[in-house]
Amino acid sequence: MTPFYVIAIGALCTLGIYSILYRENPVFRFFEHVFIGVAAGYGFYFIITNVLHPLWWTPLVREGKWYWAFPFLIGAMFYLIYSRRLVWMARLVMVSFMGLFAGSQFKGFITGYVPWIRSSFQPVLGPKPPYVQFTNLAMFITLITVMSYFFFSISHKNRTVTGSARVGRWLLMLAFGAIFGSTVMGRMALFIDRVAFLLFDFLRLPR
């Protein structure tokens, strides 16, 4: 069970951060810097104790796996960007990593996004229930009109293209509204979590 003084510190930090809702003030500034400092310190500590020490230092030094020295050398080469004479070595590792990343992303794109394109081809007519046909039709119209809005190879002076692009823009606005609605829900959920912490963990009111 968490000791009460830890909960009290948490409550103090929460109230300190929320003091910005009243106005900009030194209390908020203090807790903001505390938060940034704690997060950075924790990240540094975590990387040392959970990544570098068990996964790199221990195999290299205690288990005698000498080849684990190479990741250190490759990593250190990044810092040669500060040397005019040896900057080519930094570029070498950078382009290698860019190539590796681009290659893996290409594979990820094929397996990740091609199914999206495939699933956008849905039958508007056929032996499907009416609500499925309606959904497919709505998706077809949305896809065509929104694509026409972003299609700049044809002049948007043409009446058909203008009309389609306008419908596409309206549909985009509807989508943005849905996204914003979800955003409000998400932000409220985070606020509710903090209020629940203050009420039930700090003030110990009955749930």
Partner: protein, 279 residues
């Protein structure tokens, strides 16, 4: 409006929001929770899993999104314990995530009399991103040689026979950031591994193309999705208890949007009226 009245209005809105949220949490009003198809689909796919394989509960969240991802994780672990599904807590996106999820699992394990190592395992955080996930698919003990408590994986009973991606029944990504793509691109897309997704509310609209394309089998939509899942499991947890507060907040926001627009329209009409005719 003058700047002073604007500031007062802002303070009033925050006060109303705080009071509404507190009232929603303290005054229990049972609300109907309607289960939507994406949540039902997630539950159905979990229930259909073979019990001799492991589920990876990928934790992509930390304190910043605990308000949503915490109840989602709780609802899923509750279901795993009840359904006798063995799982591994793991993260490649959030260093503190596995520790926070472990606290939830530990609390629920006491309730269900479950034992660490036999009913679940915590692989902890692993760095390396996509290349690490590609390696994990081919050789799990090599990528995860020890658990969160530095116990060798070979000595943990639940890990017996778990070698590669084919011993994993499903991966469920619970996240507040864009950490689904690596699973889709390098596990589901390559090996056909079942994927479930529990994002925060902000990310829900972007999740539907994955569902539509069949890349994920189900979806828990933020806090509401967690409440729906609790309804399916038959438990009244944090998510369900917070629904009243969420509803109060939403009603308040809608009312304020209507009020704000009405005031803006009224002010615009007054400006358009010729001087001397204004009431």
């Amino acid at each position: 409006m003058t700047p002073v009245s604007g500031e007062r209005a802002r303070h009033l809105i925050y006060a109303l929001l705080g009071l509404g949220t507190a009232a929603g949490l303290l005054i229990h009003v049972r609300q109907p929770v309607v289960v939507t198809p994406p949540t039902r689909s997630l539950r159905d796919s979990i229930q259909a899993l073979p019990r001799n394989k492991l589920v990876i509960l990928s934790i992509g969240w930390d304190v910043g999104t605990r308000g949503e991802n915490g109840p989602q994780t709780e609802a899923l672990i509750e279901d795993f314990f009840r359904s006798k599904i063995k799982f591994a807590i793991f993260s490649f996106a959030s260093p503190p995530g596995p520790t926070m999820a472990e606290q939830i699992a530990d609390r629920l394990a006491r309730k269900h009399h479950k034992t660490y190592g036999e009913d679940w395992v915590n692989w902890g955080y692993r760095t390396g991103g996509v290349p690490m996930l590609m390696g994990l698919a081919k050789n799990i003990p090599r990528i995860v040689p020890q658990d969160l408590y530095h116990t060798p994986i070979s000595k943990i009973p639940v890990m017996r026979g778990i070698r590669d991606v084919h011993d994993i029944a499903m991966v469920i990504e619970i996240t507040g950031s864009a950490s689904l793509d690596p699973w889709v691109g390098f596990w589901q897309g390559v090996y056909g591994t079942k994927l479930g997704y529990a994002p925060t509310g902000v990310m829900v609209p972007e999740a539907f193309p994955y569902l539509h394309a069949g890349q994920i089998t189900g979806l828990q939509k933020g806090l509401v999705g967690a409440a729906e899942y609790e309804r399916l499991v038959g438990v009244r947890g944090d998510a369900t208890r917070r629904m009243t507060a969420l509803s109060y907040d939403h009603v308040l926001v809608i009312a304020l949007i209507i009020l704000g627009n009405w005031l803006a329209i009224r002010a615009a009409r007054r400006r358009q009226e010729p001087e001397g005719q204004a009431p």
